[in-house]
């Protein structure tokens, strides 16, 4: 029983990261209808940024989070402005897809060129600290990260729901032409959304560094799970993405516990295909 509870909690803690990644992907996909295939690589960039900031400025990994968010927002805005917005005009889904795929290749190989393939960690005084709650052991860095990402999720939800800019983002995602008609600058919203999505991925990376190793392809597993979260949680739904991420995290740890850890990836991918097809079948039936 205590193993089961422990697995549940571990799934919850890692699932939070899938949620955060999924929310970023969700905002981008919702607004521009493009799948951001370099989302995982953005998480990896966030990790290396945290590594640089903490080794050169001596900052605590968690103190780097706001800085990483700002830098990643700027990176995302730059990519959107120079590459994606001009390519949106060609209206070719293939080109947009491979633009983000190429961006992902560029970033992960740039990291390989700059930092090599070694696995790195950021040692902290509290990285091996555990808190015991009844039958469950909680790693302190994981707990702090989870707390921070809950706060970010709520802030994002509130931002999209209540602020003017958030309302503009939702307007563009529902109807880009209609939004332009009522005077919303869609290009500005595109830059803002892509920056926001990238910043969320970067923050997820920064929060991971407390207990995860940093290497050039660290992001790919998270990148694909973010796509699963978007599809399962539903487009444009921030709470949906949140719960889908948690569900995915718990599913993974449950498979690892009851079947075998080496099967968890296989089960996740197969579940994803099944959910995707069943969901589409339901949509067709309703019509």
């Amino acid at each position: 029983m205590s193993i089961f509870l422990q697995a549940c909690v571990n799934g919850l803690l890692i699932g939070g990261f899938y949620s955060l990644m999924g929310m970023g992907q969700n905002v981008i996909f919702g607004v521009m209808k493009i799948v951001n295939f370099c989302h995982g690589e953005m998480l990896m960039v966030g990790m290396y940024l945290t590594l640089l900031l903490s080794t050169h400025l001596g900052l605590d990994p968690y103190a780097c989070v706001p800085l990483v968010a700002i830098l990643m927002f700027l990176l995302g805005a730059l990519i959107q402005h120079t590459l994606i917005t001009p390519s949106l005009r060609t209206n070719s889904f293939t080109n947009l897809l491979f633009l983000t795929v190429g961006m992902g290749m560029l970033l992960s190989n740039l990291a390989l060129v700059l930092f090599g393939s070694e696995y790195r960690t950021i040692p902290t005084s509290y990285s091996q600290t555990y808190i015991t709650l009844g039958p469950v052991n909680l790693s302190l860095p994981r707990l702090i990260s989870f707390g921070v990402l809950i706060v970010i999720s709520i802030a994002l939800f509130a931002f999209l729901k209540y602020t003017t800019t958030g309302k503009q983002i939702r307007a563009v995602s529902q109807n880009p032409v209609g939004a332009e008609v009522v005077g919303i600058n869609a290009k500005r919203i595109y830059i803002l959304t892509y920056g926001l999505g990238t910043a969320l991925a970067g923050v997820a990376g920064a929060l991971l560094t407390g207990f995860y190793t940093i290497f050039p392809t660290a992001g790919s597993a998270f990148g694909f799970r973010a796509l699963i979260v978007v599809v399962v949680g539903g487009l444009g739904s921030i709470p949906g993405a949140f719960f889908a991420g948690i569900f995915l995290g718990i599913l993974e740890t449950m498979v690892a516990l009851f079947i075998s850890p080496s099967y968890s990836d296989l089960i996740v991918f197969v579940t994803f295909i099944v959910i995707l097809v069943v969901r589409q079948l339901i949509i067709i039936r309703r019509k």
Partner: protein
């Protein structure tokens, strides 16, 4: 009218001579080039371009962006390798079996997935590739993560086993040409028109009586079969395969020649492959010892640059460039388009009568 016919015939003859000369150069390369390294680069060009053509049938022609082609290639490689090592089958027969098996698997798995459109198909193809890789890693029958090796031995055409790279060069060239002609045939057939209609507008295609699901399944089956053939070729050439063959990055690599060359053209993957693969190999050979990853980094830079500034690919740019006009008019003596159409019309009228 007679002059027109003559002009068109002369143009066709010039075109055949030009294409024949290019082919002759490729046939003669192993006679003059003895360096195994250079020959290896050519073999790489041949099979990667073939794989990219397989992708292009589904991605460029049908508009279904698959990111799982390394999985079909890997499955083809595994199916043929296991038949050779476990059942002692002849490699050529095993290739045939691998193609049929992978085609069937792809058809059965993607049949329900084709109700999904746009990015959803891409996501399923990635998930399928990863699921297959994880399945092989976890299956002792498939040799888990350590892979499967093919037996070494004396040179033999029957066993498709050679010490020298020259036979692989010619088999690879024949495979490339064969698949190219097949793709050209498909492009001009009823299926090709149906696929391009589906790419432009699926609902419109359905409205004029094209069954989108049927044609998409046909495209995915043919595409997977070609990829499986490439997998067989790869396994026979390298003589060792492991699940790393099926990683996501390999699927992306198989798409690049098509997108850089021009995904709207059957020749796109050939042009892209001829440019990208020597570039990548050059960078790998000269820089990767100092800076690992530099070749893929350059690959990515070229990809992004082409998409950003030449969205129709290198071939798309060439098709509308002055260079093509010059070659057409001055070298090949291409008659004006009106003359070509008039002759074509005359020929068709003759057929009907």
């Amino acid at each position: 009218m007679n002059n027109n016919v003559k002009a068109v015939r002369a143009y066709r003859r010039n075109l055949s001579i030009a294409l024949g000369l290019i082919l002759l150069v490729f046939v003669l390369i192993p006679v003059f080039v003895k360096s195994p390294y250079v020959l290896n680069v050519f073999v790489l060009i041949f099979y990667m371009s073939t794989l990219s053509m397989a992708w292009n049938l589904l991605g460029g022609m049908t508009g279904q962006n698959s990111l799982g082609h390394a999985a079909y290639m890997g499955l083809g490689a595994y199916a043929s390798c296991l038949l050779i090592t476990k059942a002692g089958a002849n490699p050529w027969l095993s290739a045939l079996f691998a193609m049929v098996a992978v085609g069937l698997v792809a058809g059965v798995i993607f049949y329900p997935c084709f109700i999904l459109r746009g990015p959803y198909f891409t996501l399923v193809s990635i998930a399928f590739g990863e699921a297959m890789r994880q399945f092989i890693i976890n299956s002792s029958f498939f040799g888990r993560a350590s892979g499967v090796g093919l037996p070494f031995g004396k040179d033999s055409l029957l066993d498709f086993r050679f010490m020298s790279k020259v036979p692989y060069y010619y088999v690879g060239l024949v495979m490339l040409l064969g698949i190219y002609l097949l793709m050209k045939k498909i492009e001009r057939s009823r299926m090709g028109y149906a696929l391009r209609t589906i790419r432009e507008d699926e609902d419109a295609a359905a409205a004029i009586g094209i069954n989108p699901t049927k044609y998409k399944v046909m495209a995915v089956v043919v595409s997977a079969m070609v990829a499986a053939l490439v997998g067989f070729f790869y396994a026979s050439y390298i003589r060792y395969i492991d699940p790393e063959l099926m990683v996501q990055a390999k699927s992306t690599e198989s798409v690049l020649p098509a997108v850089v060359g021009g995904a709207a053209y059957v020749e796109g993957p050939l042009v892209g492959g001829l440019i990208m693969i020597p570039l990548s190999e050059f960078l790998r050979a000269h820089f990767s010892a100092m800076l690992p990853g530099i070749n893929m980094l350059m690959y990515a830079v070229v990809l992004i640059t082409v998409i950003r500034f030449r969205p129709t690919g290198i071939l798309g740019w060439y098709m509308h460039s002055k260079a093509k006009d010059f070659i057409d008019v001055k070298v090949l003596k291409k008659p004006p388009i009106e003359v070509l159409e008039a002759v074509e019309l005359e020929k068709n009228r003759g057929k009907e009568a």
